[in-house]
C-alpha cells in the first residue's frame, strides 16, 4: 500500500526567484538542491514536517519542447494551473508576518468559515496558495 505523498511539483518561471519566495517570504525550508548537468532538482517543504516536498520545476527542456514550455508559462502566469494548500496554527498572525515580509499579492485576507480561517495569495508566477487554520 502507498504510505505517503512524497513529492508534488509546481511550475515556476525561475527557480532562484521561487526559492526566495517560498523560503524567504512564505517560510518554507529548502529540501533538495541537487544539480545533474543542466538540471537542478530543487524542492521546498514545510519546516520540521515529514510531509511532501514541493519540487519547483521550470517548463522547458528536456521535458518540454519550447512551444509547449511557452504554453505552460502562459497558463501559469494567467493563474490557470494548480496551486498548493497549507495549514497554519494562526492565520491572522501569518497574514501579518507575510505582509511584513513584503508579500502583496493576496487574493483573500483571513476569512472565517465553518471549517476554519483561511487566506489566499499568489506566488510571483501566478500559482494560487491557500492557507487554512482549521477549526479547533
Amino acid at each position: 500500500m502507498i504510505t505517503k505523498l512524497n513529492v508534488t511539483s509546481i511550475f515556476v518561471l525561475d527557480k532562484d526567484e521561487a526559492l526566495d519566495f517560498y523560503v524567504g517570504k512564505l517560510g518554507l525550508e529548502k529540501g533538495n538542491d541537487v544539480r545533474q548537468g543542466d538540471y537542478r532538482w530543487l524542492t521546498v517543504r514545510v519546516p520540521g514536517a515529514a510531509g511532501a516536498e514541493i519540487s519547483l520545476e521550470q517548463p522547458g527542456a528536456p521535458l518540454h519542447d519550447e512551444a509547449t514550455a511557452e504554453q505552460l508559462r502562459e497558463l501559469l502566469t494567467k493563474g490557470a494551473l494548480n496551486g498548493l494548500v497549507f495549514t497554519t496554527d494562526d492565520a491572522q498572525k501569518l497574514f501579518e508576518t507575510l505582509k511584513e515580509r513584503g508579500v502583496t499579492d493576496f487574493t483573500q485576507e483571513p476569512t472565517k468559515h465553518f471549517y476554519g480561517i483561511d487566506l489566499g495569495l499568489r506566488d510571483p508566477f501566478g500559482n494560487a496558495i491557500r492557507i487554512v487554520q482549521p477549526v479547533g
Binding site: 502562459e74 502566469t77 494567467k78 483573500q108 468559515h113 483561511d118 499568489r122 501566478g126
Partner: protein, 151 residues
C-alpha cells in the same frame, strides 16, 4: 516576445484577483486597469483576450456568485445582499442576477439551501458559467441534498 506575454498575463491576473478580492467595493474598469498598469480600453481588450470575457462581466459574475452565497447561507434581505456585494442599485442587481442565473434573487433563495464545501471550492464551482448550456455543477445540487450534506 514570450516574456512580454508572461508579464502581461501576470499583471492581468493581479487585476482579476483584485476583482475577486474587492468586488464589494465600488470598483470600475478604470480602477482595475490601474492594477495592471494599462489604460482602461487596452486593459479590457487584453483581459478579454486572455480570460475570455470583459472585466466588467467578470466582476458581475463575481458579485452575483457572492450574492448567491449570501442568499443561500444568510437571512439578509435581498436589498442588503445587493449592497453587500457591491451593486449600487437594486434594479441593476435584480436585472443582472436574472440575466446570469435565470431567476430572481428571491426565487433562487427559495430553491436553494446552505452548502458545505470550502469557500475556495465554492468560489470556483459556483461561478456562473459563461455558457448556459454547460453541464451540471455544484450549483445545481438540489436544496434538499445540500441540507442533507449540512447535517
Amino acid at each position: 516576445m514570450s516574456r512580454e506575454t508572461e508579464e502581461l498575463h501576470r499583471r492581468l491576473l493581479r487585476a482579476r484577483d483584485t476583482i475577486d478580492r474587492a468586488y464589494a467595493r465600488p470598483l470600475d474598469v478604470r480602477a482595475i486597469a490601474a492594477v495592471a498598469h494599462l489604460s482602461p480600453a487596452h486593459f479590457s481588450r487584453c483581459f478579454r483576450a486572455v480570460f475570455g470575457e470583459t472585466p466588467h462581466r467578470y466582476l458581475q459574475r463575481r458579485r452575483v456568485e457572492r450574492s448567491m452565497f449570501l442568499l443561500r447561507e444568510t437571512g439578509r434581505s435581498v436589498t442588503e445582499v445587493c449592497f453587500d456585494v457591491g451593486f449600487a442599485s437594486l434594479g441593476t442587481f435584480s436585472r443582472t442576477f436574472r440575466a446570469i442565473v435565470g431567476e430572481t434573487p428571491s426565487g433562487y433563495r427559495r430553491g436553494n439551501g446552505p452548502v458545505v464545501v470550502p469557500g475556495c471550492v465554492q468560489m470556483a464551482q459556483f461561478r456562473i458559467s459563461r455558457c448556459p448550456a454547460a453541464g451540471p455543477s455544484l450549483a445545481t445540487v438540489p436544496a434538499s441534498a445540500a441540507k442533507e450534506n449540512a447535517k
